[in-house]
Subunit: 365 residues, 2 copies
Amino acid sequence: MVRLRRRRGALGEMMPASGMDALVAAPAALRMEDVARLAGVSVMTVSRALRAPATVAQPTLARVRAALQETGYLPNLVASGLASSRTQVVAAIIPLISQPFAPTLQGMTDVLRGAAYQLVLGVSHYDPRQEEALVRAFLSRRVDGIALFAGGHTAATAAMLRQAGVPLVEMWADPATEVLVDAVSVPQRLGARDAVRHLVARGRRRIGFIGGSTLHNIRQQSRLRGYLDGLAEAGLPEDVAAREETDGFLMEAGAAALARLLERRPGLDAVCVSSDILAAGVVFEAHRRGLAVPRDLAVTGFDDAEIARAMFPSLTTVDMKAEAMGRQAAAMLLDRARQGGRVDLAAMPARRCDLGHALILRESS
Amino acid sequence: MVRLRRRRGALGEMMPASGMDALVAAPAALRMEDVARLAGVSVMTVSRALRAPATVAQPTLARVRAALQETGYLPNLVASGLASSRTQVVAAIIPLISQPFAPTLQGMTDVLRGAAYQLVLGVSHYDPRQEEALVRAFLSRRVDGIALFAGGHTAATAAMLRQAGVPLVEMWADPATEVLVDAVSVPQRLGARDAVRHLVARGRRRIGFIGGSTLHNIRQQSRLRGYLDGLAEAGLPEDVAAREETDGFLMEAGAAALARLLERRPGLDAVCVSSDILAAGVVFEAHRRGLAVPRDLAVTGFDDAEIARAMFPSLTTVDMKAEAMGRQAAAMLLDRARQGGRVDLAAMPARRCDLGHALILRESS
DNA sequence: TACCTGATCGGTAGCGCTATCAAAGGGTAG
DNA sequence: CTACCCTTTGATAGCGCTACCGATCAGGTA
């Protein structure tokens, strides 16, 4: 025997006296065998009692459960995962842990909890290389599914995913974007167009746009396009100087962007902002400058984050159904995972779930 | 042979013709053996090249790495975890995915990424029973460490953790709270006292308090106590009717709490609020009612969340160093995990790391 | 009585890695 | 030239569980 079985054997295997000291407090975790012995059954029966209780006779099941209770046995899911090649874990890769992605995560964990799945988290910081590294790590862990944000994947990422054949779902897609397989989407472009349409209906004509970097970020791309759609539809001229890109997605970035924008185009009477967080910053900056919202400047946001509802003035916004998106993504992942086996991204009919969009009118416009 | 080795054997093991159909697209993941064969070494050498490259001779290492590259091999960390009884995963259990906990998570993932550890996430919704279920699940997964929020554990949770002997760290503790082993804390009680002290120095005398439920939540408990300390120190009377408990931790809950509070105590000239999110809601509600902040009502928050810095008026707050707390917690966990072996909570000298506190003065007071 | 069926349970052989020991080679001190 | 040590590599035996096949047995059928 090469590896020492550090188990208190039923007598006989006592350590030499010195061992008592060296091995302080090393009770070693219980194994199924221990439970089985106590219940007077085989390990397989214990395994079945845990995995498929319906296949075990009532009296036996009761005995096993009593033994489980008595020992406080915690199954080793690592061994289980190796033996069954199913880990009961799904991974999520998000750009940042912040609004509006936190509700998506929340939705996912809520659904997964009900199915006894766990969620491993990866944060990509909007960097395709980091996403690639995360995908690699998660595939190495043999997760049963991966949820990621649509768009901005490296070629290597796509190749690995295709090769691994793991259930996959992309979130926060726009219906028009190309995806790998399954996707949950919200029509972001239409949403932005509707926001502009609404501002036009309110009599605004000098409508600016503030958004995050569109690099590797298809959400920002879609929203910008929707804004341009809205201008075109209303016959308003496109004005590059009326658009400003933020540095990051914090409120302060929104505030700074408005400051720069107003320097160039002081006459703006409305701004379409590509995120509620940025929009909140825009409103704060407007107030700081003595501009009244919406009287002097109308503002629309995106996502329907908590702050949009709560702030004063409350924020007109496009509901991205962030939490529902998480729930839906988790459900789709579980569905694929439960079918078991490889998922062939090439052959598989892609499933898309579109959650629809809704402009929510509030005080800021 | 019982279990079918579904591998393209080097000839010989061909499936019967019908198999071709049944087994569409089942390339099966590569194993170390495949890499080893290609590199002309044993599997152990591949394992070493991956885990401990320094112990492999340069030319061999190069050959193995080439083979690794060529095959695109992804190590199976499940098998690795079983064999080595180290999973390279740590778990975090947080009450909610929201401010101010999101930065803590962010800090943790940042540190863990550098150490090739992954983070599994659990959300307890402030419910000790859910926390218990999560701890059970994580222990079953044999995570290498668990970070949880201090306080509010069930007896069973504590017992399991003690029994499992897994590295542990509690976050968001107050230095005075009792913890299981290691903890990262911030003096929340002192922080709240300082906030009140500051309001008093600004000439405020009718100072109210708005906080979340103190049930299972030692952070809220500490902050409330600090507020009372502050009043006592200034010789101000304790007034139960000047305190209001919120329903949840959203901005709207803060707004609603202020509304109730002002109904009972319309003459308040300051409110000490136990979270920036709630405090933002309080400020919004004040504005909605035509009260100027800080002229008519001074407001202090807690946590130094993004909104405290960004909003107008910006929020005086107590910095909880949320992200640093996450970083520190992850570092302490890794330190314990790398030492390997069981952690005996009873015998182990507890380590506490106190990050200090800081009142940040801004416009709202 | 012989045979079949379905429910229940156990034995065994892995799952894909790593820990441990053993062996082989090369250098070097005596 | 021998003894010894260090470096490098390989062979082997698990890690703790589950998939698979078989065995057993009660009950029903022909």
